[in-house]
């Protein structure tokens, strides 16, 4: 729904509040500045991925290549900066361009070659993972002490007035995307295409161009997140870096009210979804729940969340 109504996001917002209260009661350190900072940083990074994906999901598409792309771009970043000693600005711009460029390729394959988004980006998932391992020669890549691009490192992992940079970037992106999706003509067309591409075409919307652009945006956002992740871990093992991140990103969007059939969901929803997912992970550690149950807790809460949303608030999304 391009017009934003808070009703749809009320369910997840409630869940989030309840969860925060419960965790705080069980371990007050949850609200300690350092923990808030840590969590905000992770929210920022994963949230940027989710925002990008949300744009694609609105059109009824999907992007499974996100995790592998994070690995490939991270490896390229390290190679450019450390192995090739290239100028940080050039490398960053290069990485962003590669991300957006691969998004463009996805978009063209979907709109021009008429392939299913699932299959295009599944191939992306496989190919970029392989490419990451290949360019990194199956070595883990890192940034050492970041000599020569300390500012970049700080931008990724440092704080701005006490707020982690990734969170700041996430917030800015969220606002920008909110305006784009909910206020601009482009956003309206995205929702139109997601709901009924025929109707959009009948009304003279350049469906192919609009849809392609969605993948480009997703690729660009992924690239930004990839840079942040790379500096955050400071080590990119090409075979596992970013594994399953696409699922987190998709989960955040769906939790936030997006339908994978397209044409539904708001930026506020994704933001809440992204926050909820990271708080869940934080909670597992803070409450001392065995790590082996990490995934299970996440899955269970997501399921309960959407169930409560559907049953209690009687929202139908099937």
């Amino acid at each position: 729904m391009p017009k934003f109504k808070f009703g749809k996001e009320a369910g997840i917002f409630l869940l989030l509040v309840v969860l925060c209260v419960v965790v705080t009661v069980m371990n007050p350190r949850f609200l300690s500045p350092i923990n808030v900072q840590n969590t905000a940083r992770l929210i920022g990074m994963f949230g940027i991925l989710s925002l990008g994906l949300a744009v694609v999901i609105v059109t009824g598409g999907i992007d499974l290549s996100v995790g592998s792309l994070v690995a490939l771009l991270g490896a390229l970043l390290s190679i450019g900066l450390v192995d090739k000693h290239m100028s940080p600005v050039v490398v960053v711009v290069g990485v962003l361009l590669v991300g957006a460029g691969l998004g463009l390729v996805h978009g063209l394959l979907v709109t021009r070659a008429k392939l299913q988004p699932f299959i295009v980006t599944l191939c992306g998932l496989l190919i970029y993972r392989g490419a990451a391992r290949f360019v990194a020669e199956d070595q883990s890549k890192g940034f050492g002490d970041s000599a020569g691009f300390m500012w970049l490192h700080d931008l990724a992992v440092g704080n701005f007035l006490g707020v982690p940079w990734p969170f700041v970037i996430f917030a800015v992106f969220a606002v920008a995307l909110g305006v784009l999706l909910h206020k601009s003509v482009y956003g309206r067309y995205l929702y139109a295409i997601g709901r009924n591409p025929e109707a959009a075409r009948y009304s003279g919307v350049n469906v192919k161009r609009v849809e392609t652009l969605a993948y480009v945006v997703a690729g660009g956002f992924t690239a930004v997140a990839a840079i942040l992740f790379a500096f955050y871990t400071n080590s990119i093992s090409p075979s596992s870096h970013g594994n399953f991140y696409e699922l987190y990103a998709i989960a955040a969007a769906v939790l936030g009210g997006f339908s994978l059939r397209g044409g539904e969901g708001s930026v506020v929803g994704v933001v809440l979804g992204a926050i909820l997912l990271q708080i869940l992970q934080n909670l597992v550690n803070l409450l001392g729940i065995p790590s082996s149950l990490n995934f299970a807790v996440m899955g269970a809460v997501i399921l309960l969340g959407v169930l409560a949303d559907n049953l209690v608030l009687r929202r139908k999304q099937a």
Binding site: A199, R201, G204
Partner: protein, 490 residues
Amino acid sequence: MLLASGITKRYPGVTALDGVDFSISSGEVVGLVGENGAGKSTLIKILGGLVQPDSGQVVMEGRQVKIDGSATARRLGIGVIHQELSDLDNLDVAGNVMLGREPTKFGLIDRPALRAMALRALERLGMGQLVDEPQSSLSIGQRQLVEIAKALSLEAKVLIMDEPTSSLTAGETERLIEVVRDLRAQGVAVVYVSHRLNEVKELADRVVVFRDGKNAGALDKEQITPQAMVRLMIGRDVAVANEHTHLAGAAVLELQAVRTKRFPSHSVSFTVHSGEIVGIAGLVGAGRTELAQAVCGVDPLAGGNVRLDGKSLGNSVRAAISAGLYLAPEDRRRTGLVTRSSVRENTTLPDLPHYARIGLLERGAETQTAAKMLEELNIKSPSVETTVSGLSGGNQQKVVIAKWLAMSPRCIVFDEPTRGIDVGARAEIYSRMRELADSGVAVLMVSSDMEEVLAVSDRVLVMHEGRLAGELPRAAATEEAIMALAVGHA
């Protein structure tokens, strides 16, 4: 103004258009008629830029043009109302009307301006009150009106309307005719496609007839009569509305204080007897479809009871179907047909176990039934294996009817049964309905087409805002009497 010549379009197995010519000048209303599958919509899609012709050319205002998309058509001043609805239910009505032409301020959508522009278009149709409604809450008729408003707001030089009134009732149709006359006065060229030949007669300055993808002739203003059009369309006369004697038998379908979700405060009770055809009339959005769907179990009942042959039916489609109560729904693309499946698969879907032995289907029996229905309803389809999406609108509608006629009903509810169906086939369907009734079946027919209601029904029920506004026996059922009840007077 607009001149299309030698247009040919082939689809696998059919030649939709075979070198047709078509022209229109400004300030002219041209009626375009032809049997179902004659190629009318195909020509319109070509002019609207949605389909590319295999050969032929289009000249607009003296210049040859290539219309390669809706955007191009709009730029050239061609506005189109397509036969099938194409709206967005995740937008409001204003957003739908202005889709593709959103006014902007600082790069963002200028909502007030957008609303104002949409409102202006809607008000021409007397539908201003809809402007802020979510599209998802509209009935088919209202959605059709939104489509019309959308095309009107284009301020096109050539306005093409493909069956704009097929789901409208008399009131709205009257209004639309007024609007078209206005447009003509302003010098707009209007192409008007309809199977309601009286409308065409009333409006058109000239009629062009297509038959099997070719020009079959044209009629000038003074020559236009329904009979003349029919003769050119099918090459013979059609006897419309056969006289009959009606012998109502035992009560078959009984509605006892039925309440629907949308109008929970009104209850509806009536009975349909074996051997009679009961028509339900009313304005767009009066709740007829709502009622039909609740009765047949596809929508939950909000209250009351439905009995078939004295037995109470559980509120489920399957119970209804196995008891012999069938619904031929009004929205063929959404609920009537699996458009990606073949004619055969659609025809046998409701009665599939009938075609199976130990759970395995017998293709031969299916094909036999489907072929029989193709023949009987004169469905223009290359074969029973053709996918329904490749049929013309009217032929799709015939498949909706066919799948229920292929079974043995006790009571059958038709919701807008002849939407988009040509005169010839329409007569055939009416006589099938009569045969059913004569064989003891109860027939309930929801229709917005006044002529149809008057011609077919033994008894007419009129609905207004969810309640039964009145009942008229055949003798008392006149257009005026029905309208008076439908608008809530009397």
